[in-house]
Symmetry: D2
Subunit: 349 residues, 4 copies
Amino acid sequence: MVIVMAPEATSSDIDAVTDLVTAAGGEAFVSRGVRRTIIGLVGDAAEFASLDLRAKPGVSDVLRITAPYKLVSRENQPQRSVVEVAGVPIGGDAVTLLGGPCAVETPQQTLEAARMAQSAGAAVLRGGAFKPRTSPYAFQGLGEAGLEILAEVRATTGMPIVTEVVDVRDVDLVASYADMLQVGTRNMQNFALLQAVGEAGKPVLLKRGMSATIEEWLMAAEYIAQRGNLDIVLCERGIRTYEKATRNTLDISAVPVAQSLTHLPVIVDPSHSGGKRDLVLPLTRAALAVGADGVIVDVHPTPETALCDGPQALVPGDMEELGDVMRTLPGILGRRLVRPADTVEPALV
Amino acid sequence: MVIVMAPEATSSDIDAVTDLVTAAGGEAFVSRGVRRTIIGLVGDAAEFASLDLRAKPGVSDVLRITAPYKLVSRENQPQRSVVEVAGVPIGGDAVTLLGGPCAVETPQQTLEAARMAQSAGAAVLRGGAFKPRTSPYAFQGLGEAGLEILAEVRATTGMPIVTEVVDVRDVDLVASYADMLQVGTRNMQNFALLQAVGEAGKPVLLKRGMSATIEEWLMAAEYIAQRGNLDIVLCERGIRTYEKATRNTLDISAVPVAQSLTHLPVIVDPSHSGGKRDLVLPLTRAALAVGADGVIVDVHPTPETALCDGPQALVPGDMEELGDVMRTLPGILGRRLVRPADTVEPALV
Amino acid sequence: MVIVMAPEATSSDIDAVTDLVTAAGGEAFVSRGVRRTIIGLVGDAAEFASLDLRAKPGVSDVLRITAPYKLVSRENQPQRSVVEVAGVPIGGDAVTLLGGPCAVETPQQTLEAARMAQSAGAAVLRGGAFKPRTSPYAFQGLGEAGLEILAEVRATTGMPIVTEVVDVRDVDLVASYADMLQVGTRNMQNFALLQAVGEAGKPVLLKRGMSATIEEWLMAAEYIAQRGNLDIVLCERGIRTYEKATRNTLDISAVPVAQSLTHLPVIVDPSHSGGKRDLVLPLTRAALAVGADGVIVDVHPTPETALCDGPQALVPGDMEELGDVMRTLPGILGRRLVRPADTVEPALV
Amino acid sequence: MVIVMAPEATSSDIDAVTDLVTAAGGEAFVSRGVRRTIIGLVGDAAEFASLDLRAKPGVSDVLRITAPYKLVSRENQPQRSVVEVAGVPIGGDAVTLLGGPCAVETPQQTLEAARMAQSAGAAVLRGGAFKPRTSPYAFQGLGEAGLEILAEVRATTGMPIVTEVVDVRDVDLVASYADMLQVGTRNMQNFALLQAVGEAGKPVLLKRGMSATIEEWLMAAEYIAQRGNLDIVLCERGIRTYEKATRNTLDISAVPVAQSLTHLPVIVDPSHSGGKRDLVLPLTRAALAVGADGVIVDVHPTPETALCDGPQALVPGDMEELGDVMRTLPGILGRRLVRPADTVEPALV
């Protein structure tokens, strides 16, 4: 941490800062310039943070030079993590496809969507039973009935399921059905929810907040990790910008940037980013090419009747091309697609 | 609602749309142009929304021309609402000052901050007992102990209290102490929380999400209103933009824009917008001048020891100027400052 | 300037940096921490910038702690400047109203608009003869014929004129008519144009780029100042954000922030910020209240026939209220409205 | 175009609008709803635009339903264009690599950079002789001496050159050396410059403005096209957002979106987008995968001594990996890399 003193700071202002730092068990190195003095701090940054040095007399600025997250930081764990979802790996040298309907509507629609996704190489089924909707007048999901449908489709297809939880009171219920819990973009800073999923004993898919910085996203992951759960997969799903030609702006650079800062796997949601069917395949290719650890896509057997986000769902006719992309692109990038056969055998207990 | 057909749409595409609209109880007016056909819909917009016309063959775009919120819309209640917080009005021809510490730390600090705010004209005490913090390592608030401190200070000063609730499981607890519940910027689309505060029987202060559009903000208010609670005060607190010279960018235009769309009162938080003490008074003046129904400010007796947001808190030496602003500016704008004596007497039951 | 070394930096990496700094005539203070070393630099920042230290081995980050602009910085001239436009002051304890049509269309329209603005207290006439338009198919202005109309209206009304120049080849022509040259938002980083107006011998009104940071805006002013022209007035006109309820988002905080960084006057354009007539008066009040040195507004005698930006122009019926605002609000803020009678007499030569 | 009338609009307001439209040679279709009336217009949109219907009594909104650009629109030319730069094609089934130093510094540095780029497959040399810099104290480029260096390196390597022009008065000079003129991000709405390069008889590389919408970008291209020059290549180079982890946010979706709206080729600049060397190769892969028609990269033999943007330049050690990407990725996407041998033979005159 570096303290920049104001030009008008007095010697006693400077002494006051160095005294505080020393009292907190740190060391302070003073560099006196012609116009300004700067003070370099060495020691425990969390301890220094509690001193609120920014508010002290004569202090002009406080510059942080280390990341505020620890458990999820790559500084503390250089090798990249692999998260297992009921035996399906996400991360490492493999690339994982997750697919399914935006919202669970009926058993048949969900099963058809799962089969579609599976045909293109998907190893995990996505599907929403509890939907966070901007309007209270929009379809809010089937609730527990939706979870039951997902469980049935899992039994039929063998695909583990990831589904969103939007209410901290529902975490246990959703965890009793799901193989992976999703925290959505609107809840990325719902800290009570983050802590609850951190304690639920299931891997977590953490979507980036729609205007969250990468650092805030990693801090949200740190909330989950702090509760003892490091099975976290990050999902870039587009950020809010001035550009309205797409629903959100896919921040494709966030994938390599986040991968350089954290050991957690990072996947991409090309469906919610672009918000248009025509963009899903190009953005899927871009996500794989940039190095994402997986892709999560909306598929629907009959999107013209979908109760949620129909315009962005891939249709049956898209599955062949999606499958081609998933089969060919990872290889030339030195990776391979996770198939059901790749499932990690659970260790005997 | 207006449907714009693509240039290549066929007659049967057009007929399919008009048939759907008619079947849903609406009327469809077709305007055939040289290149495109447009279809104007008359009837129940919510009904039309469920048709997902955007996904139909030949449809290029669907343009909504009425607001998606109803209960909070000014179209449905042209006169502006007054919300009472334990007898203190917000809205109407009055201007209300709310002030207090960002976080409740000790009884003495809270009482001193309340007295400071009161001296400048504040009629409502703000103070956080549950704090949503970006970092899990930052001070998270005193919890119920903080609520008890607030209640004591209310008893001493006579100021009703507004405090934030961050966890849907705490709504009843917080409502048992508070006169007004605050929903913070990070929870503006935590729909479970919105519904819970809608049922808690207390007025709600709804901060704008840090990247929420004005429409999304009003939709969030609609979630609360739908549960039978129309005692909602909106609070503009700065939005996230590319500009980093301020913590957030105060969207001052949002005040008159929101006031034209909703009958709910709209206040401004100049402390969190700018994030710097020096900006609080200029932004307070701007907020009153633009027509805000009130202002909510952070004050602290000794901000250099504050556990949260010290750099933006007003200090004792600022109270005289704040008081001057609150006493002089509303008058020339045709409004007046709410004083404790203005408190609305509760009707005898 | 502070150099943050990477955890893996070697001693020789650190020595290489300090050697470079010393060779450049500066001093380097090394603070060795447990994980990282930081190096504080004292000396000529411009000299250090040319070393491109960020690209050196072992360097993790370079933090600048002084402003990159000099001539326009308040550090170098603490008292605020007053810029005179043909004798009309902008800045200091006065507040100046500038008004007129967005585009000059006819002599009568321009004269009527000038008289309207004057009736509300305007001391300077604005009007565009060269218009930068997003579409090549939109009205591009009358060109020199428009300048002649402005000159005639100046002769009739006594109001000095400010008008935009959009092409570096037109600077001399426009300067031969105008009392003040305007650089528009789209040209804020047209450096050739900035340098040319810096040499034209007329005061300059520099609008903020629609996505420029405050620092970039001041750097643009520095380009003008470097050519020997310090008669620069900055104009905040709204920035581009995700919010589309207004044409742009007026960054009201930019006024006090810029005033703290530069000695140049700062005014506000409430017409282009909001883009709607209904917002102009509220935003004018906010601008004055926050401490702006003036306001520039679009007015039009018959906006329904305007060739440019009709929806945001104030109409004759608005002048009384605008005049009221201009007469009453500055007084309670300790300022006063500049009237024609305030014109500074040119010193005898 | 669709006119939405306000709920309080009168019959005579509606008649006034339809009369205007009819007088302008159009047709108006009126759809009267319970709360609102909408009017569909059929005819010449440019003609309607000049009516400024938005400002008419009773009009609440005007919705445009066709694109405001024509010459560059894909509606008018469905097949995608190929632009030739001194015989090197950009667009079509090929993918083109452009590379070179950010700024031309010396003959040796420029030649080495060209050879580096060529070794990785580059067919066109980029290099700046006139540099637009945020600070007037930064290196501004070598000017004509830089153009001469570029011409020499072209003679040696056979690579055609693209270089930026920043001043309308320099267009003829730059065009006398360059094979392609670049308009930079800060000048995307410098309309005088756009018109001048439109008349210069050379292909144009048009970078997207750092906060330009895709529509504004295409309108800027329309300015060039209007002057008779349709040899335009669009370049996405990152947009300005709230996220500061990267210099800009690469809007990867803009590539397929723009390609669906215009027939012009679209390339990507991964160097200026990310602003960091480590991001250039991942973003290059993403750009190719999403379907870009080419990539333009900064390379430098010794970036630690670069006078401009050293931290983002690829170094000699990166060329092998860049070459691998360029050779392998286009093939599996159904495209191929343009090599010098692909150069189109100029037709005999």
